[in-house]
């Protein structure tokens, strides 16, 4: 590499304000999320697991960026499209795959749903399908951290559609009053299932909602991993040091349907094509290549390594048994209150 190019790269690296290690870490998680997500889509279409699958392809930066650098004892409150947050928080691919396949070795033993990822050792609280529910619970976690005088933070993820729910507003109102240690990440992917954001609210920038609760709201390019990570990291540091909540709206887009059973034919093809040009993974790749941190060979090696990891995980869950049906009787109450078993 010519000396002048290397020097130009160093200047640009400084401009990102992030270390080489952070940039590579972010990119690795973006790539892992993309590859895993596309694999699950394919596996679902092959009929390899039941239910449906909620892909987040196209909006990986919104989940990887805020999660990277969190501590294990920080909480993330995801919804169903936050596979990237789980990957980045450090949930092993085997655990995520077991969840998607509803196998007995899944953290929920197969009880909830393929995309209800949750794993206590990494502080990922399992979501329910009632969107925004998790935002409220995440706010409760932050309330507890305040009472416990701990410096843990919560990062709560949701889509712009969830902000129509009353409980979402109650949670943010509460967080504003008590300056709770929480960062709200709104992934505005322009579509709440089939309802466009223009029919979900009378505003275009959902970060404006924060004003009503007395804390800052910022709208950012959700497909730019550097911007997303830096904005979130600043907000997290502020929350951790007692500065209160921030609402970050990430403008982004999901490439596929609400779930794999949705052909998304309510959207214009041109809209999709325009957003595909803003692919967050390719943009990160370009940045890292320009900075001299990534080469085609290096990327291919990374893809190979991650794919092998995914192959091993899928192979393992393919062989893993489901829980016995009687597992359905467990975990209703503590052991003190056994569930009645009807016999016929």
């Amino acid at each position: 590499m010519p000396a002048n190019t290397k020097s130009a790269g160093k200047t640009a690296l400084a401009e990102t304000g992030l270390s080489e290690q952070t940039l590579m870490g972010l990119y690795t998680n973006l790539l892992k999320t993309r590859l895993l997500d596309e694999r699950f889509r394919k596996l679902f279409r092959q009929g390899r697991f039941a239910g449906t699958y909620f892909s987040a392809v196209g909006q990986e930066a919104t989940t990887v960026g805020p999660t990277y650098g969190l501590r294990d004892d920080d909480i993330i409150a995801p919804s169903h499209r936050e596979i990237g947050a789980n990957v980045t928080k450090g949930v092993p691919i085997e655990i995520i795959a077991a969840q998607v396949y509803a196998r007995g070795n899944s953290p929920d033993k197969g009880k909830s749903h393929p995309c209800h990822y949750g794993w206590r050792p990494k502080g990922v609280i399992t979501p329910a399908s009632t969107v925004a529910g998790q935002t409220i619970i995440g706010t409760g976690c932050a309330m507890a951290f305040r009472i416990q005088k701990k410096d843990n933070v919560v990062v709560a993820f949701f889509g712009e559609g969830s902000t129509a729910r009353g409980g979402w507003h109650e949670a943010l109102n509460y967080a504003g009053i008590y300056k709770l240690p929480i960062v709200y990440v709104c992934q505005n992917n322009l579509w709440a299932e089939s309802v466009p954001a223009t029919l979900a609210a009378g505003i275009t920038d959902f970060a404006d909602r924060a004003k009503a609760y007395g804390f800052p709201g910022v709208t950012i390019d959700g497909n730019d991993i550097v911007t997303v990570h830096k904005t979130a990291a600043d907000a997290i540091a502020k929350a951790r040091s007692g500065g209160g909540p921030t609402l970050i709206e990430c403008k982004t887009y999901r490439w596929y349907g609400h779930s794999e059973i949705d052909p998304a034919d309510y959207r214009a093809q041109e809209e999709l094509e325009a957003w595909k040009k803003k692919d967050p993974v390719l943009r990160a790749e370009k940045l890292l290549t320009d900075l001299g941190l990534l080469t085609t060979e290096k990327r291919e090696a990374m893809v190979e390594q991650i794919s092998a990891e995914i192959d091993a995980a899928i192979d393992s869950v393919d062989k893993a048994p489901y829980s016995a049906p009687e597992e359905a009787y467990n975990d209703v109450y503590s052991a003190q209150f056994p569930v009645r078993r009807d016999e016929y």
Binding site: A128, I136, T139, C141, A144, G166, E170, Y174, D331
Partner: protein, 327 residues
């Protein structure tokens, strides 16, 4: 032993549990500075501070959901719903999150929330301050539902609920707050969740009830005694999971049952109790299981004659008992 009212017993339980376990905190509307609209939390903010006795905004969704989140990271929340009538916004959090959390995470997380719900009629509260909606919750496995009828049980069940690992909906009846007094021990005690109390032994018929209606049933039992009828009186105390053994044992002995609840008949707790008796101990019955309930209208009407027309009372219960005995 000192005589205390039902509401004093509740305050004592909260105070003692907050003193013994720093994870216990309270959140609800008007519970701090004001001490609660019925004064159940009087003095607790002064004693434990505003971080453990939290005056919440009018946000039943958050009161319930925030409590779930706090419980997940090691706290023991005791949220208050000021009137059962206002619990509807929090139903999503109670049913979808609180009740299912242990199940949908396969026990990774538990939800030790004790939600105090002030309920009940016979206080002139009208349509939106008199409801008793325990039937909405007893259809949801994953929840514990309790309703004490006496100061002793009010204190003991609340302490047991707070010390437990399951989400408990704790219904307290506002008509009972200052109406009944009882001597209770000054030493620490709990009342086991899931166990009914046989309040009076009898041989001719079993009367099952809970909450305020337990007292109406007790009045009926006293009146029936004068007519030579020996009724066995059971106070359910826990409505989910309910004490099948105690009730079945009694009905097997008496062969007859009258079930009394304050809420409307349709879809109520006693529908479940009655169906279980029919399903499991039918051979022991000498007469149809009969229910005495609130009338099937949307809520308790306001004007006093209509309110009392709505509610079961000792006369209605006595007439039902005699009808069953004559069958």
């Amino acid at each position: 032993m000192k005589k205390v009212t039902y509401i004093e017993a509740i305050t004592q339980a909260l105070d003692e549990e907050m003193a013994r376990d720093e994870r216990v905190f309270l959140i609800g509307e008007d519970i701090g500075l004001y001490g609660g609209v019925f004064k159940a939390t009087k003095g607790l903010m002064d004693k434990y501070g505003a971080e453990r006795v939290i005056d919440s905004p009018i946000s039943e969704v958050y009161i319930a959901g925030g409590s779930v989140g706090a419980a997940m990271v090691g706290m023991k929340p005791v949220p208050e719903i000021q009137f059962a009538d206002f619990i509807t916004p929090s139903m999503d959090q109670i049913i979808q999150q609180m009740a299912k959390l242990r199940y949908r995470t396969a026990g990774q997380w538990t939800c030790p929330v004790t939600m105090r719900v002030c309920c009940g009629a016979d206080v002139g509260g009208g349509l939106y301050h008199s409801q008793i909606n325990e039937q909405w919750f007893v259809s949801q496995p994953g929840l514990i539902v309790v309703m004490p009828a006496t100061p002793y049980d009010a204190k003991g069940l609340l302490k047991a609920a707070i010390r437990g690992e399951d989400p408990v909906i704790y219904f307290e009846h506002k008509r009972l707050y200052r109406w009944i007094k009882e001597e209770i021990p000054e030493d620490d005690f709990t009342v086991p969740i899931g166990k009914a109390a046989v309040r009076k032994k009898g041989n001719d018929i079993t009367i099952v009830s809970y909450g305020l209606m337990y007292h109406r049933a007790a009045e009926a039992v006293t009146a029936l005694e004068k007519d030579g009828i020996s009724a066995e009186l059971i106070d359910m105390r826990t409505l989910l999971p309910w004490d099948r053994e105690t009730i079945f044992e009694s009905v097997k002995k008496t062969s007859r049952a009258v079930l009394v609840q304050e809420s409307s008949k349709t879809g109520g707790v006693m529908g479940e109790v009655g169906a279980a008796i029919a399903e499991e101990i039918f051979d022991y019955l000498d007469a149809p299981v009969t229910r005495v309930c609130g009338i099937d209208v949307p809520a308790v009407p306001f004007a006093p004659p209509m309110e009392h027309f709505f509610l079961p009372n000792a006369d209605k219960i006595s007439r039902a008992v005699k009808k069953v005995l004559e069958y």
